[in-house]
Symmetry: C2
Subunit: 368 residues, 2 copies
């Protein structure tokens, strides 16, 4: 299968092939695409005899521990300030590689270390508007995942580098970032790449899906059950909101990261265009916005100090009270999502109804 | 892309190409693969100028209504005894085609009509052990979906027949029957076919996923929330059971078909090998068995008068009482699923504990 190449990708590839020592990093709270892309490139470079370190500010998420555990000892490390071996690895690197993130603030402490090192920094990413400090950036906003770019990078060196380890990591990246091949960025090329990596790596998809998605805890299911009871729709069913209070988290016994994905239940309601979940923290309220199709919600999120993609954004309202924050978000919805006939003053349908307030009152938390 | 052909597939293809009039059917309670395969073949044959009728015993499931509505008027019909036009279509057909089912009892009334018609009956299916009455059977148990065989059938006539309508139907079949490309039967060929149909049909996957999966009702989510509260694990967490009583269905206001998929939540628990859901009907208890990986549960289901695939089976216990049926199934688990160290007498861990009985008692239904 011919590689989809470009001068920008070739520049990254040439720099990596020429390097003896490479350090790779990715964004804070790394996801499947971040970890999968890092590991795929790292393993391919190791197979070429290079010294490689994957150095992240944050640790691998729990549902990817199995993938990290399959890697050779010493390949991956979590950054520790003052760790001399890590500092030396960066200082002596011939190339530093950032994947799946294009802004310094998304990289945490390792981003600062990379920028101050004076070593050449390469980038492979699929997000728009990269910062300008990368020495060799390859940005493809038309790919669904950074792992697809990593495939083109690796196959462009030698398709035989796509062994089981590389294929597994690439599959994790592509599959998770496309929502199991669902999201609109999924292309014929996405599937053609997956056909090739499953074949070359002799990889079976199901055990990977089980490892990533079937590690639910009883506590996580209890939290899901409780959060489903908070779903409320507004503006004739076009907006769904739901929330998780500190007490719901405590009573279920779930970890905070088990709130991930809950918002998809609000979004899955028939007729809903956008959904927002409100997560009550001790320091404020964390908001996640999601929408379907042509209904951008990033401007709406930025109204609350956040931002993100057109269909997936987030924000954090510091010191926000839960019910007040919900009301503010619901009231501002008509200015940002497609809600024909609805206005900001649409008190009948938008905002918090008596029923909403009664629902909120059922959940003890720091609700004003 | 070269077609994966075979003499059996070529025989079906030749018979369809030679026919002027074709009637197509599939199994009772048709799913995405059944409907998608029927429509893909029907539309391709229509494009070749043939007269085609898709005639099913059962109607299209609600989450595929949108796909049926996109078809030309008169292409699809639900069988009605005594409908002369339907009887005539079968009697005058040059070929009858059965897809995604290989046994008469799976076809309902249309199966009887086909068998009594004396017309040649063709088969494309991916289930094992086909009955012997088909005139030209093409059975490929190594494909994840009947729609993949339909792709090889259609592309073998002319790849240009894979237009948007055909591609959409094929995508629905492949995507739904692979669990969005998750299940073990998903192969490199599966992804290569999807790459080709997305390209040829200019099909975007996300709207299809939204149409099929994002039509949840408030009532369906309420039922999900209630059923999650019934999840119990047995045998050191290797078996999960859950149930839906008639009262839970009434109180949530959900349709019975919204119980579909609930069992996956039991199966998604960390460490669970198999899950069973018990659906209380007025006439007895319907059981669904699911398992992960190498843990066949069809023998277990057949103990209760049912059967199915190694990882997905069902049964119906006529006049069964809910709590008694749960106890019988849980007690018999060690004889059928991999549960090292557990025995049928393992009362500590298996069977219904006091806590299980208390949980059951919370749900008013016809519980003994």
């Amino acid at each position: 299968m011919p590689v989809h190449d470009s001068p920008a990708l070739a520049a990254v590839r040439d720099a990596l092939v020429a390097a003896d020592r490479v350090v790779i990093t990715t964004h804070l709270r790394p996801d499947g695409d971040a970890i999968g892309t890092e590991i795929a490139v790292a393993r391919a470079l190791q197979a070429l005899g290079k010294t490689v370190l994957v150095l992240n500010t944050d640790k691998v998420p729990r549902n990817l521990d199995w993938l990290a555990e399959e890697q050779p000892a010493g390949l991956m490390a979590v950054y520790e300030s003052g760790d001399l071996a890590q500092a030396q690895a960066v200082a002596e690197a011939d190339a530093l590689l950032v994947v799946d993130a294009n802004a310094a603030h998304r990289l945490g402490a390792v981003g600062d270390v990379f920028r101050k090192s004076g070593r050449p920094v390469l980038l492979i990413d699929h997000h728009p508007d990269p910062e300008t400090w990368f020495d060799a950036p390859c940005v493809r906003t038309d790919t669904a995942s950074a792992a697809e770019i990593a495939y083109e990078l690796i196959a462009g060196i030698d398709p035989a580098l796509v062994d089981r380890a590389v294929a597994t990591a690439l599959y994790v990246g592509i599959m998770t970032d496309t929502g199991s091949f669902r999201y609109s960025a999924t292309t014929p090329r996405t599937h053609a790449i997956v056909a090739d990596i499953l074949e070359r790596g002799d990889v079976a998809p199901e055990p990977i899906h089980i490892s990533i998605f079937d590690g639910r805890s009883r506590e996580g299911l209890a939290l899901l059950s409780a959060s489903l009871a908070t779903i409320t729709t507004h503006y004739e069913g076009r907006l769904a909101t739901m929330f998780v209070t500190q007490d719901m988290l405590r009573q279920s016994g779930a970890f905070f990261d088990e709130t991930e994905g809950l918002i998809n239940y609000g979004l899955s309601l028939d007729g809903v265009l956008a959904a927002v979940i409100f997560l009550e923290l001790s320091s404020g309220v964390k908001l996640s916005f999601r929408s379907k199709g042509d209904c951008p919600i990033n401007q709406w999120a930025s109204r609350f100090g956040g931002g993100g993609h057109a269909n997936a954004s987030g924000a954090f309202v510091k010191d926000g009270q839960l019910s007040r924050t919900i009301k503010d978000v619901v009231d501002s919805a008509p200015m940002h999502i497609v809600a024909p006939g609805a206005t900001e003053d649409d008190d009948d349908d938008g905002g918090l109804s008596e029923a909403d307030l009664a629902l909120l009152a059922q959940f003890k938390g720091s609700i004003d």
